[in-house]
């Protein structure tokens, strides 16, 4: 029997009146992997997560979680999934322990099993010391961990993490990444949404990029970067007369033709992936050609580059446009 996909989305669309929060998205994710969904605020990430986690129904198309249709059998889907969002969906007036135990009971674990799971998760997420404190006294990072913990109580086969690190400080973010890696090692499939390419790059086996409700690219991290021309090495020349010699020296390293900007005196060398090794090569070649570069630097493609390349619009543009359009009410359809 062929193995089911962790989730499978076919032609899914969600319209809120005139607004197409998501339009004609088709995706498949293998089990036991991290699938990254990358896009700016308002791109439709949360809309997709909400439909997959049975919180809302698609206007069109079909969505399946481990082969189970989310519209036809939502209750069955809910037994398979865990959901942790950008808002810590925990009760601030319960203790950490009470929060987890309650969720265990609501997953229909026995009282004994709920207790056991609660202690395991408190221990795994390093919350045991704070277990008897009200969740409202927790720091932002602890709340997020408790929220993640709550999504794990029912032994989910698939975990939906909707921007789990948005608003966290760098250290806490790294801790959470580590936790996510451990979950994957235990065989959990994960759908991770994020605004940060770095995060998708770090954690996801496959990445889908969405913008304004549409899927605009999909592939592994290196495939996506390759599409963008990958890494870019740039250096400034001391003497403009060296430009021909410089271009000649680095052409062998370059993936496509190096370019030269007369105004800034900068040579740009697209090198594909593996930029740091190519950087050493560029230095060696320039050295042999007796050219001393100024401000030698390696640029890896950022989310902004992905967007610029795929949509002709930077993330900042999308964000500011969104802010202008944003109406009163619950902000996040994204």
């Amino acid at each position: 029997m062929a193995q089911e996909f962790a989730f499978e989305v076919k032609g899914a669309a969600k319209y809120f009146g005139e607004v197409k929060a998501l339009d004609d998205v088709t995706l498949k994710a293998e089990q036991g992997k991290v699938f990254g969904l990358l896009g700016p605020n308002g791109a439709g990430k949360t809309t997709l997560v909400n439909m997959l986690s049975t919180l809302s129904e698609p206007t069109k198309g079909s969505l399946k979680v481990l082969g189970v249709d989310v519209v036809a059998e939502p209750q069955k889907v809910r037994k398979l999934i865990g959901l942790a969002g950008q808002f810590a969906a925990i009760d601030p007036y319960l203790t950490g322990r009470e929060n987890l135990y309650m969720v265990g009971r609501l997953y229909h674990l026995s009282a004994k099993e709920s207790k056991k799971r609660t202690e395991e998760i408190l221990d795994d997420l390093k919350l045991t010391d704070a277990a008897n404190r009200l969740a409202k006294t927790y720091s932002g990072g602890m709340r997020r961990r408790l929220d993640l913990g709550a999504s794990l109580v029912g032994h989910p086969k698939i975990l939906f993490l909707d921007e789990p690190t948005t608003g966290l400080d760098p250290r806490t973010r790294l801790d959470l990444w580590q936790t996510i890696r451990e979950l994957v090692a235990q065989g959990t499939s994960i759908l991770l949404t994020t605004q940060y390419l770095e995060e998708a790059d770090e954690l996801a086996d496959r990445i889908a990029v969405i913008d304004r409700g549409r899927l605009i690219a999909e592939g592994t991290s290196s495939q996506l970067k390759a599409k963008l021309g990958g890494d870019l090495i740039e250096f400034e020349l001391e003497d403009a007369n060296q430009k021909d010699a410089a271009i000649k020296a680095v052409t062998a390293v370059s993936k496509s033709k190096p370019t030269y900007d007369e105004q800034t005196n900068v040579v740009s060398v697209p090198v594909g992936s593996d930029g740091s090794r190519k950087l050493a090569e560029v230095v060696r070649q320039l050295d042999q050609a007796k050219i001393i570069p100024r401000r030698l630097s390696l640029h890896e493609p950022s989310l902004d580059d992905v967007f610029l390349n795929l949509t002709g619009q930077s993330v900042a543009d999308v964000e500011s446009e969104r802010k202008r359009k944003k109406k009163r009410g619950r902000p996040d359809v994204g």
Binding site: T54, L55, E57, L83, A89, Y93, L106, H108
Partner: protein, 260 residues
């Protein structure tokens, strides 16, 4: 089948427990929700009591005997309004999204809230009885009828909680839910026999006041507490209670289930 029924109850209990725990963690909320009815009772008794002394004449000579059942109905309704406010707050905090993503009963989040708010109403009713006694209120119709009065009020408050739940689910905003609740609770309570005899009201209003559930509730309470004739108000109140439950439980659950 049986385990589905079992889980309806188990889930409802889990949510009820959550809401009750919350109340114990918010002592200031309990304090003010107890103080408020005491203030109402005190103001009404000592401000209107003199002017309305005659209304009390038929009720063992004291206005407080007339007033306490009326205030109790009002208090129970205010308690019920909390349901809508609490639900709207839960929706906005995101915890309802968590509940909706769990394989739990769809009615439990609402039932757990209405039941917890009804349990809180018990404590408020107890406080009202204690303060009422200090102001001279007495039961004249035996323990069982006194208990029955408390029982029908709690049940009516529970039914009213479901109306508030529906408001909270539809309006999705705490302040709006609170305002919407007051907007229709105030006219209902004041245009009833809760505080003054209906016969003293404008003629056109009397028709409304004589035929609405708050009047039935106060008349039923007075009958049970004091032994004055109630003209079947208790049965009419139970019918209303049942009617509200039959309409608003499915309506609220439908509104909660709807996945937009």
């Amino acid at each position: 089948m049986w385990d589905r029924i079992y889980y309806e109850f188990a889930d409802t209990w889990a949510i009820t427990k959550r809401n009750l725990l919350r109340y114990t963690r918010l002592p200031q909320l309990i304090f003010f929700s107890s103080i408020q009815p005491i203030i109402f009772l005190t103001l009404f008794n000592f401000v209107f009591g003199g002017a309305l002394g005659s209304a009390g004449a038929a009720f063992h000579g004291k206005y407080i005997n007339y007033l306490l059942p009326g205030i109790m109905v009002q208090v129970v309704l205010f308690g019920g309004l909390q349901t809508g406010i609490g639900l709207a707050r839960d929706i906005n905090s995101g915890i309802v999204d968590r509940f909706r993503s769990l394989p739990m009963s769809r009615a439990a989040v609402l039932a757990g809230r209405t039941i917890a708010d009804s349990i809180r109403n018990i404590s408020v009713i107890a406080i009202m009885l204690i303060v009422g006694y200090l102001y001279g209120f007495r039961f004249y119709n035996g323990y069982w009828n006194a208990l029955a009065m408390v029982g029908i009020y709690l049940l009516f408050g529970f039914a009213f909680s479901w109306i508030a739940a529906f408001l909270g689910l539809v309006l999705k905003d705490e302040e709006t839910a609170q305002l919407a609740g007051f907007v229709f609770v105030f006219p209902l309570v004041f245009a009833s026999a809760a505080f003054v005899p209906v016969a003293s009201m404008a003629k056109w209003l009397q028709h409304f006041a004589n035929n609405q559930p708050i009047t039935f509730a106060t008349s039923a309470g007075r009958e049970l507490a004091l032994g004055v004739p109630g003209n079947g108000a208790a049965w009419k109140l139970l019918l209303w209670t049942l009617g509200i439950l039959v309409v608003f439980i499915p309506l609220s659950v439908w509104s909660y289930r709807r996945r937009t």
